[in-house]
């Protein structure tokens, strides 16, 4: 598959899904960190050795793993800086990989799998799933890891587990995470009390988008912090238990909002929909927060002619690099806001009113 196919669509086919869990959980991700035993780690890596590793990976793909959509190898050096930024916005590669050379990413055609080569660890294997589905993501990651291990001697120690570049990833090398949409908890002001409680059980929460002080779009990522000691299943179970609780709280908060202030909530989501449908210019932060309102409105059954998937796609489509890429020209900040408004307007265009 050509890289353009990945850059032009906001969400890969693997992320399109209508799971009920998707009302709160946007997507799930499993990441495994692995290193080749006899190669220097990133801190000691030479350009020649890194290039040789890429070549080895490319050749290994002649014997692809089974049960995965076709994999394509992309050397980062062959991608424009803008293309790399789009991949970052789509979460297919990390910011660190985007700035690494020589480095590569192997993508499955459906965007379920992304294998980063030459990141902080030789391999960073990522498997994505729509909604709340760590189980199937882990099952696939485990299988792909077996495939990797069949072709590369992976650095491992009985006591330390998988040896990683950074001591914070050692052991399982596993980072499991779920992206949650929590407008109910934010609007009912419960989030401030809930997030700290999550850390007590060894998890990390942070806003997904935005450099500012607030989590834009009310999107949060919850992931495990500890990688050494518990098994992969225990890590995932622990995360799953907490995420389930969070989702319950969020659903409760949404119902509370709807029951206690139905007019105010409907007004809020409808106003946001109106602004998104008719604005001629909109900055990223406002777009994110308005989209969050509309997503809430869809989940509450207040908005019927917009799909959740469309909102999830717009979250990616309205990011700066994606906007720039699809515009096919360099946009000033001003033009970018106008272009963003235009894209949203087109995507959310209301159905023709009955005559």
């Amino acid at each position: 598959m050509r890289i353009e196919s990945f850059l032009e669509r906001p969400l890969g086919p693997a992320l399109l899904g209508t799971q009920p869990s998707g009302a709160v959980a946007v997507s799930s991700r499993i990441r495994l960190a692995r290193n080749v035993r006899d190669l220097p780690f990133q801190a000691r890596m030479t350009e020649t050795a890194a290039a040789a590793l890429l070549e080895r990976v490319r050749r290994t793909l002649e014997h692809p793993p089974e049960g995965v959509a076709p994999l394509t190898f992309f050397a980062l050096d062959d991608l424009t800086p803008l293309a790399r930024r789009v991949l970052v916005e789509k979460h297919l590669i990390s910011r660190e990989l985007a700035e690494s050379s020589p480095a590569a990413v192997v993508l499955s055609g459906d965007e379920r799998v992304s294998l980063m080569v030459g990141e902080e660890d030789h391999f960073r294997l990522q498997v994505f799933a729509p909604g709340f589905d760590l189980k199937s993501a882990w099952a696939l990651a485990d299988r792909l890891d077996d495939w990797l291990e069949a072709h590369f001697e992976i650095a491992y120690d009985e006591a330390f587990g998988y040896k990683t570049s950074c001591p914070t990833n050692v052991g399982t090398g596993l980072r499991a995470s779920v992206m949650l949409h929590l407008p109910g908890l934010v609007l009912t002001k419960q989030i401030g009390g809930i997030l700290p409680a999550i850390h007590k059980v060894g998890l990390v929460v942070r806003g997904v988008y935005g450099e500012g002080s607030e989590a834009e779009g009310h999107l949060f990522q919850v992931s495990n912090q500890i990688t050494l000691g518990p098994s992969e299943e225990e890590i995932i179970d622990n995360l799953r238990g907490v995420v389930e609780k969070l989702m319950e709280h969020e659903e409760k908060a949404r119902r509370l909002l709807l029951d206690s202030m139905p007019v105010a909530i409907e007004d809020r989501v409808m106003r946001s929909l109106g602004i998104l449908r008719y604005a001629r210019t909109i900055d990223s932060k406002e777009a994110m927060n308005r989209l969050s309102d509309v997503r809430l409105g869809v989940a509450l059954g207040l908005i019927h002619d917009v799909s959740r998937e469309m909102i999830d796609a717009l979250w990616v489509m309205t990011q700066p690099a994606f906007l720039q890429y699809t515009a096919r020209e360099n946009l000033s900040a001003e033009r970018r806001d106008a272009r963003r408004a235009e894209m949203i307007r087109r995507a959310l265009r209301p159905a023709e009113p009955n005559a």
Partner: protein, 173 residues
């Protein structure tokens, strides 16, 4: 909740660090978290404690040990323990063995434990099974010697030697 560092912006970064087995919660705003090196912007890993790690290191040294950990160096890649502490990055897979002694307490501080309990690569499975068998044999050997069943003890010892050789763990006797 406000950032506990600047007290101005609201805290978006929440995490627990484990120091001396005690969990401390931290709540920082994005700017302060970044400044303190505790943030790695999405979508990289949500969490990173590189600089925090250097803060943890001094307590790693156990007084009275023959060789201070900072003098340790990896024979394969040349990374010194001091450099490892500064970068919070290993240079190669052998660094783990070179820094084994101070590493145990350090990993305990980060993860709460220092022993892997997860997946075993297929390649390592036979080795693990061999090690398990070796342990069993060593116990059996003791029992046979205690029971003065020397003939059987000799047979077990041969098996132990073969296993040790296969594992590359020949003991100097």
């Amino acid at each position: 909740m406000l950032c506990e560092n600047c007290g101005k912006r609201s805290a978006t970064f929440h995490f627990t660090k484990i120091v001396n087995g005690e969990k401390t919660e931290m709540h920082l705003c994005d700017a302060c978290a970044r400044e303190r090196g505790e943030a790695l912007s999405f979508p990289g890993d949500a969490f990173s404690i590189h600089h925090l790690l250097s803060g943890l290191m001094p307590s790693v040294q156990t007084p009275g040990t023959a060789r201070p950990p900072e003098r340790l160096a990896c024979p394969t890649c040349g990374m010194t323990y001091e450099e490892f502490v500064k970068k919070s990055r290993f240079g190669c897979s052998d660094c783990y063995d070179a820094f084994k002694e101070p590493l145990g307490p350090l990993l305990k501080r980060i993860h709460g434990v220092a022993e892997h309990g997860g997946k075993v690569p297929r390649r390592a499975e036979p080795k693990r099974a061999m090690r398990h068998r070796l342990q069993q044999l060593r116990q059996a050997l003791k029992a046979k010697v205690a029971a003065e069943a020397f003939e059987e003890a000799a047979r077990i010892r041969d098996e132990i030697r073969a296993l040790e050789q296969a594992l590359g763990e020949t003991k100097a006797e």
